[in-house]
Amino acid sequence: MKTINCPLLGWRPVSEFTAAGVLEPEPADLGEMSAAQWVFERNNVPMRRTEWWYHGATQLWFKVLRDTATDTIIDVTTARD
């Protein structure tokens, strides 16, 4: 079972968390990008990336730096850090 170092509570089981993936807030202006590109395009090759994870126990969102090739979690910070 994976464990995640919650910035508030310390090591907690992954089952307390919900991974939401890379979520950028919808911008007011898409610039060069089309609506379709904004909605559908992903960069999903294996990589290290920052994802949003929700933690049920603290009811907080965390930013999680994770390697999507190995599932290694490199860093966890609170949402507004």
Binding site: T3, V14, P25, A28, A35, A36, V39, Y54, Q59, W61
Partner: protein, 963 residues
């Protein structure tokens, strides 16, 4: 006949207590502590089961939980492993998968067909002509499988537990005990598990006459026992290694899921069989199996045995067995003749005949059981037949490295040791002992200490530093313990009945890599998962490919180490169920309470919710007043400077015109513009909102709002009130009169208009009142602290008594809302519906600067491909019109019915449907394809079906009933 040896200290049986059971109808008596197989062998049985495919007689092979051939069943359970499961008093055991019993298993005739059933035969036959295949398949399915499942068996669930430690040591043999001993006083928390009920591993049966070994064992066990930081788990095997050093241990009490900071894998090695003709005959077994039988269960599995020696261990084991009182007539050495004399010296001195430079030809059988071994030896390579009822194979080892593979370790073939060894392991994972390539006892002990030292260093603690020993310079495994025979039957895989020729056939047909060969021949896919077959398979393949063994690679070892009962895996049955504050009222009033997601909700107040009950509740609301428990709604409180900014971003509508103490209907879409959830937003002040969400999405919406607030760094506090606050909808033309009696605030239409919200004391309870209109009548949603709700509900019932107030359920509510043309998300919308398709365009403010889904909705708005319409059924018919019936126009699919009810108000069947926009014009007649294939005409009508002027929900005085 008894084959029991004289008592010795350390044996696992208790001779003071007998165990009696039946096997294949015959009575068998053993001792307490006997496993089924040991009791059977002690009473003279040799054939214990039949093989899977050819139904050949089979007996003991490993006596280490991979005797997958000896699967037994009794009336309550199947797939009982005879070599590890204790014999139970009074049981009637039998072998699985026989036809007419073990002795005269009629399935064995299938052996006559063996020449026609080469590896992969089923890919080559039975498919022409095609119509015959089902017939063949029935036959194949009849022959398939092993045990029979008892459909009446009771559910056996054992709780799963979690535990934590600094160091988990898996395996309590020499290396594991050495590691545990070294860590006993370190202050680190240590757990030691072993699949056997007693610790000691091979110290008990391969070194029991070695005083040093025994002294080491006693000292280690004592240290572990007296330590307060070491926890012992005898009888627990490690089933699999999972992320972050989590190891699933499985024992008699179920699953213990251990989360360790470091893991020391000291799981030992699986002894490997030699491959020769009839090597599966009962009587042929691994040398270590005989030793386990002799020392643990005091069973002599034979009268007189030969040992096939491919390594030094063969000689030490032979001596060990002789010491236990077993008769070893010869050691047949198939190893390097040049070094034979040195390894054989002690055995020769002990009077055991050693035959150097030998090859195995085959085993001879009598009535299916071992009778003799035939070898070739000497310079003439003459055949020599040696009568014996036991052949003990000691030709090599494969590290039990499954956990190390699963942990991401790298394991490579070592050409000196002729076996695989771990080369790199992930941080925090250590290997020790035989699994790490050490075979000599002293090296295993030293390796265990070194692993302990490394683990403690890794944890920032220190125990006496110990270095890894150096690996032996000679092999403990024979490089090719495989003798092909012209007449075949040299079994490589006992589970699946695979012989060398099968692998050759697979190879010739192109399945020449380890993975393809595995899949085509099914080698390693049986219940023992290749523990005794994969390595020999790889050796055969390497020779066929003319490659080095190391170049072949190995197949992935996946969990589990040994199969695990589903009842152990499942754990306790835990299901969430949420009840509203009014739950007991509902059950007391015979409501048809059903599960709606996690919630329990009353459909109506009559069992099974007949239409008559639903219509009665409907009329109650239309004509007088009713109450419905809507506590399942999501209820979210929002405070803060940026609350408007958050709502503007999360929802499609605009909030700038929403005055304090007013509410409005809101909905959100996702970034692709699809509808997600709807609710009501009530504004209490500039910086304070209270919103609702649908029952099933409440938690998602809270989470989503929190995310948006975090992403945009908005200053908003979001509190989920769903479980703190209950809600009651009081609806109907008399609802104001009921409410008036219970509150001191002015509830007149002027003072408390439609869509207004108020804080008020109702029946002494502090509440929030929302004037809503979901069901299309004058109505109030009363939100109150959950612990006051039942009192409030009772007060409403009493105050409404003179108007004939009654509770109504979800079914009536659905009918009421349908007449009003209100949609239900998830029913009238699907996962890809956008607001414009369901007449919600009015709630989308594309002019807003920024909100979720804006860019998608800008693209989707002009699409106008489908539209939600209201319809009336034109003709009466007995054939029901159902939700999800399709709408067909000129043979083409143009829409789908999403909601249907009989409308008491319209006096006909009404519904909502999603149809192509060009067909949505009023009065148009559409054809609905009913489930029976007939068509039913329906007429498009304007929405809503009821009270288009919205006069009823806004009225000052109760209007005349319209229903």
């Amino acid at each position: 006949m008894t084959r029991r040896l004289p008592p010795r200290t350390g044996e696992w049986i208790d001779r003071n207590e007998k165990v009696s059971f039946h096997f294949e109808g015959e009575r068998v008596v053993g001792f307490k502590g006997d496993v089924v197989s040991s009791a059977l062998l002690a009473s003279g049985h040799r054939t214990l089961a039949r093989s899977f495919k050819y139904h050949r007689p089979r007996g003991v092979l490993s006596f280490a939980n991979h005797d997958a051939n000896v699967l037994l069943e009794h009336d309550a359970r199947t797939h009982i492993r005879g070599d590890v499961e204790l014999a139970e008093n009074g049981r009637r055991y039998r072998a699985v998968n026989t036809w007419g019993g073990l002795k005269f298993d009629r399935w064995q005739l299938i052996r006559l067909l063996a020449p026609f059933l080469p590896v992969g035969f089923y890919y080559k036959a039975f498919y022409r002509p095609r119509f015959l295949f089902p017939l063949w398949e029935r036959l194949i399915r009849r022959a398939a499988g092993l045990g029979r499942v008892d459909f009446n068996a009771s559910t056996e669930r054992q709780p799963r537990r979690h535990d934590y430690c600094d160091v988990l040591i898996i395996g309590a043999g020499a290396a594991g005990l050495a590691a545990a001993h070294a860590l006993a006083d370190s202050g680190l928390t240590v757990m030691v598990s072993d699949e056997n009920p007693r610790f000691g591993g091979s110290l008990d049966y391969l070194h029991s006459n070695d005083d040093h070994a025994q002294a080491f064992k006693h000292e280690a066990l004592q240290a572990i026992e007296t330590s307060t930081t070491v926890k012992t788990l005898p009888g627990y095997f490690a089933a699999g290694y999972y992320a972050d050093n989590s190891v699933a241990l499985v024992g008699p009490d179920g699953v213990l899921y251990v989360h360790a900071r470091t893991v020391i894998v000291a799981t030992g090695a699986y002894e490997q069989p030699a491959v020769f003709r009839n090597n599966d005959a009962p009587g042929v077994m691994l040398a270590s199996a005989a030793a386990r039988l002799a020392y643990r269960y005091a069973v002599a599995p034979f009268e007189n045995a030969c040992v096939i020696a491919g390594n030094d261990d063969a000689y030490t084991t032979a001596l060990e067995l002789q010491h236990a009182g077993l008769s070893i007539s010869a050691v047949i050495d198939i190893g390097d003749p040049a070094t034979c004399a040195s390894r054989a010296a002690a055995a020769i001195a002990a009077g055991i005949q050693v035959i150097p430079n030998a090859e195995i030809s085959h085993a001879d059988t009598r009535r299916g059981e071992l009778a003799a071994i035939v070898i070739r030896c000497g310079t003439e390579r003459a055949e020599q037949r040696i009568e014996c009822d036991g052949v003990l194979m000691s030709v090599g080892w494969v590290p039990a490295a499954g956990l190390l593979y699963q942990a991401g370790g790298k394991i490579d073939y070592d050409d000196v040791l002729q076996q695989v060894v771990p080369t790199t392991l992930p941080d925090g994972v250590f290997a020790a002992g035989r699994v790490n390539g050490f075979h000599e006892l002293s090296a295993r002990v030293a390796d265990g200490r070194a692993a302990a030292s490394e683990a403690s260093t890794y944890l920032g603690s220190t125990v006496a530093r110990a270095n890894r020993p150096s690996r032996a310079q000679h092999a403990h495994s024979h490089a090719y313990p495989i003798s092909r025979h012209a007449r075949g039957n040299e079994f490589v895989d006992f589970d699946e009945d695979i012989v060398v020729g099968d692998l050759e056939t697979a190879w010739r047909e192109g399945f020449d890599s380890v993975e393809l060969m595995k899949r085509y021949s099914t080698i390693g896919m049986g219940p023992s998962q290749g523990k005794t077959s994969n390595m020999n398979g790889v050796r055969v393949l390497a020779r066929l490919n003319d490659q080095a063994v190391g170049a072949i690679g190995v197949t992935t070892t996946r969990p589990f180490t040994h199969p695990i009962a589903m009842g152990k895996l499942a754990g306790r049955r835990i299901r969430r169920q949420w009840r509203t504050p009014m739950h007991t009222f509902h059950t007391d009033h015979h409501a048809d309470v059903t599960e709606a997601g996690t919630w329990l909700r009353p459909m109506s107040y009559a069992a099974a919710s007949p239409a008559s009950a639903v219509h009665r509740e409907y009329r109650q609301v239309r004509e007088a007043v009713g109450v419905i428990d809507v506590s399942t709604l999501g209820k979210i409180e929002l405070f803060g400077r940026d609350v408007i900014a958050l709502l503007e971003y999360a929802y499609t509508c605009s909030f700038d015109k929403l005055a304090p103490h007013m509410s409005r209907y809101i909905f959100m879409v996702d970034s692709s513009g699809s509808l997600v959830d709807d609710g009501v937003a009530a504004r209490f002040s500039d910086e304070h909102f209270y919103i609702t969400a649908t029952s099933s999405h409440a938690q998602t919406v809270v989470r989503q709002l929190q995310l948006f607030a975090d992403q945009l760094a908005l200053e908003v506090t979001i509190i989920d009130r769903t479980f703190q606050v209950g809600a009651i909808n009081l609806a109907g033309p008399r609802s104001r009169e009921v409410l008036e009696r219970l509150t001191d605030i002015d509830v007149s239409d002027a003072a408390f208009p439609y869509l207004a919200v108020r804080g008020a004391t109702v029946a002494g309870v502090s509440t929030r009142l929302l004037r809503v209109g979901f069901v299309g009548e004058l109505g109030y949603e009363i939100h109150a602290p959950a612990n006051s709700c039942i009192a409030l509900w009772q007060a409403l019932m009493e105050a409404g008594d003179e108007f004939g107030i009654a509770p109504f359920g979800v079914a009536a509510q659905r009918l009421l809302r349908l007449e009003k043309g209100h949609l239900i998300f998830g029913q009238d919308t699907d996962g890809m519906t956008n607001p414009f398709e369901v007449n919600l365009g009015w709630g989308v403010r594309l002019g807003k600067e920024r909100f979720v889904g804006k860019h998608a909705l800008e693209v989707l708005k002009p699409r106008d491909a489908r539209k939600l319409i209201g319809f009336e059924r034109v003709e009466e018919s007995d054939e029901p019109l159902r939700e999800c019936n399709l709408i067909i126009e000129r043979g083409g699919l143009v829409g789908r019915v999403t909601s249907v009810e009989y409308s008491p108000h319209r006096g006909c069947v009404i519904g909502l449907a999603s149809v192509s926009s060009e067909l949505s014009t009023s009065a148009r007649v559409l054809q609905v394809l009913l489930s029976n294939g007939e068509y039913a005409p329906v007429k498009v009508v304007e929405l809503p079906f009821y009270d288009p002027g919205n006069t009823r929900q806004q009225a000052e005085k109760p209007p005349a009933a319209q229903a």
